[in-house]
């Protein structure tokens, strides 16, 4: 019933992820404040300033919905206790390799 994500401390590297409002595609916030479908484009955040970026992202609702922090390694790879979930979000369903970003047709 809960879709709340785990709280990440300020020192944990993180990116901001959400869904494009019109299509529902999974996206990541980039350094130039656009939304990319490729995790590799995401800005890795850390420190207390990350909260301000999340607050900004939360107001960008016309473009993206329900943004939240997602844990990554310092070089931007999926990490932490939600690795399975976020890997599936980034690639697509494991039972349907023909669908999702892994198949280039999300």
């Amino acid at each position: 019933m809960s879709s709340e994500r785990p709280k990440l401390g300020p020192d944990i590297p993180k990116v901001i992820t959400g869904w494009l409002s019109a299509s529902g595609r999974v996206v990541y916030l980039t350094k130039d404040r656009s939304w990319s479908e490729d995790l590799a484009d995401a800005e890795v955040l850390s420190g207390p300033g990350a909260l301000e970026v999340l607050a900004w992202a939360s107001k960008d609702q016309t473009r993206a919905t329900d943004p939240y922090f997602m844990q990554v390694t310092p070089d931007g790879k999926v990490a932490g206790r939600e690795t399975i979930r976020e890997t599936i979000r980034a690639k697509g369903p494991t039972n349907h390799p023909m669908f999702g970003k892994q198949a280039g047709n999300n």
Partner: protein, 553 residues
């Protein structure tokens, strides 16, 4: 099948138009997500892991060929060519774009369909026995009462903001194929001492975080009083249901916190004190009008046995196996109900491609009085087929790879979408389901095991009904790893029981091997080939099976 009148059609079309405006406002930034979310949910639109998910209502699981073909069209036009039939007898599409959902709603309106009552804290899609109107063991057809409840509950202002979602199921048969004892309200049609048909009213059943079996709050209520009595229940729930804690908001918590006797007292008091003008008394002509939509089709007078079918069975052992497992007894001689198991090896349970939907539609149109049902086990049923036509139906199913001959067996398992799709899930369900299905890849072995219900949920919300599987599997997250707790002894029928968690969770790759050991132990210990696992466990206790479960884990 119930047909819309001009008012129904206008309402559904206006609703689609209204949602188009709401979507446009959302995408222009005029509506914030927190304001839009309740509106989209009321139109069956969720945001899942990869995309929006669109859930379409199939009242009591009944479809015509025309409706099924429209669902296939929607799968092709707006989604990825497939849909997922759910345990609420609905269908959902996993990849739809928000901007296109108003178009899909208009397409649905063309065939008298919609997404009303598929989400939100309202009375949800009323479910029923997938063999309703066909079953030899039913008292009478429960679908008119499902439809009456649907009409009464849809847009009822007192039920538009309940403490939580509310699920009602109706059956008129024993055995119970609609799992009425694990619903917020379960209605079992039965006769009273005077021989009149009415309803036993069970309240407070449910699965999820806190599973309960429903309690009989009224042993019998007349048809005339049904809606008033349901309304009395809803008022007590609305009055006392917890709105401060969503985990305690379902009526099952209220019934158990108040206690059965006090809950019953309050409902009876409410029922007795309803003013005459408040009573929802259906004119008999209205009951008759609705019932007429569910009149039996024009069955032919046929012999109870079919020589053509018997010859085909004798000629093909695969067909013979399919007929043994996938046909259900019909109340009319010479007819049968055909169970189309959407559970071939390696496919997500409940998934059907648009091509398969069209095959089901063609079969129903040609051989089945244009009637298709969705079973809560995530399968399809063509409820009225002549025995003589069964070989042709099988051939059509086989050509579309829809001839899995496993209805009710180990590989016909119930599984939620799990972490591959669901935003709430903790662990994958489909991949575990597929590994378990592989245990039954040998049809002879699966037959030898016999009836076995395995249910899997990817989280505690229990959309995969894990509490009531003979073997239940619950996916949990343990510090970022998927683990699976195993339950034994559950069942969803008239002897509904909540399964018991056996012990520590197993890793993903350990589940299927562990179940293989349990099934082997069951086959060693069962008293006969017809004794179900749940019955063997009742007889011997769960210890031998628990020992097998953890034997080399």
């Amino acid at each position: 099948m119930y047909r819309y009148d001009e008012f129904d059609e206008t309402l559904v079309r206006e609703r689609a138009k209204q949602f188009r405006g709401q979507v446009e406002r959302r995408l222009k930034g005029e509506l914030k997500e927190e304001n839009f979310k309740p509106l989209r949910l009321q139109n069956g639109v969720y945001l899942q892991l990869h995309a929006y998910m669109f859930r379409i209502a199939i009242p009591y699981g009944q479809l015509s060929s025309k409706k099924m073909r429209q669902l296939a069209m929607i799968a092709d036009k707006y989604d990825k060519g497939y849909g997922h039939f759910t345990t609420r007898q609905n269908i959902q599409f996993n990849w739809i774009k928000l901007a296109e959902i108003p178009d899909a709603l208009e397409d649905l309106a063309d065939v008298e369909m919609h997404a009303i009552q598929t989400s939100g804290n309202c009375i949800r899609n009323v479910t029923s026995d997938h063999l309703a109107g066909a079953a030899f063991d039913e008292l009478e057809d429960p679908r008119p009462w499902c439809e009456i409840i649907r009409q009464w509950s849809t847009f009822h202002p007192e039920f538009s903001s309940l403490p939580r979602k509310f699920k009602i199921a109706v059956t008129a048969a024993t055995p119970d194929r609609a799992a009425v004892k694990v619903h917020d309200i379960g209605l079992l049609m039965k006769k009273n001492a005077a021989g009149e048909t009415g309803f036993e009213v069970l309240v407070g059943g449910g699965l999820g975080r806190t599973p309960y079996i429903g309690l009989t709050i009224r042993d019998w209520v007349s048809k005339q009083d049904l809606l008033s009595y349901l309304e009395a229940n809803m008022r007590v729930y609305n009055r006392h249901g917890r709105r401060d804690n969503k985990y305690k908001a379902r009526i099952k918590i209220l019934v158990n916190e108040l206690g059965e006797a006090e809950y019953r007292r309050q409902v009876e008091e409410e029922f007795a004190n309803q003013n005459a003008w408040e009573k929802v008394v259906l004119p008999q002509e209205e009951v008759d009008r609705i019932t007429a939509y569910f009149a039996p089709p024009k069955f032919e007078t046929l012999a109870a046995k079919s020589a053509a079918l018997d010859a085909a069975i004798a000629a093909d052992r695969h067909f013979a196996r399919w007929t043994k497992n996938n046909l259900r007894a019909h109340k009319i001689p010479g007819y049968t109900a055909v169970h189309i198991a959407l559970k071939p090896q390696g496919v997500a349970p409940g998934d059907a491609s648009s091509a398969q939907m069209r095959v089901a539609a063609d079969i129903a149109e040609k051989y089945g009085f244009d009637d298709i049902r969705v079973a809560h086990e995530q399968d399809l049923v063509v409820p009225h087929v002549k025995l003589d036509d069964v070989p042709a139906v099988y051939a059509a199913l086989k050509a579309a790879d829809m001839h899995a001959s496993n209805a009710g067996l180990g590989s016909d398992l119930i599984a939620c979408p799990g972490l591959d799709y669901c935003n709430l899930s903790n662990a994958r369900s489909i991949s575990v389901a597929n590994e378990i299905q592989a245990l039954f890849a040998d049809p002879d072995f699966e037959d030898e095991v016999g009836t076995l219900h395995i249910n899997i949920s990817g989280c505690i919300n229990a959309c995969g009904h894990h509490h009531v599987g003979h073997i239940g599997i619950l996916g949990v997250d343990k510090k970022g790893e998927e683990f699976y707790q195993i339950l034994f002894g559950g069942r969803a029928d008239e002897k509904a029981t909540i399964g018991e968690i056996q012990g520590p969770g197993l890793r993903h790759e350990e589940v299927a091997p562990a179940l293989k050991r349990v099934i082997s132990r069951y086959m060693e210990l069962r008293a006969s080939k017809t004794e179900k696992l749940a019955d063997t466990m009742d007889r011997l206790g769960q210890a031998p099976f628990k020992e097998a479960l953890y034997a080399s884990a």
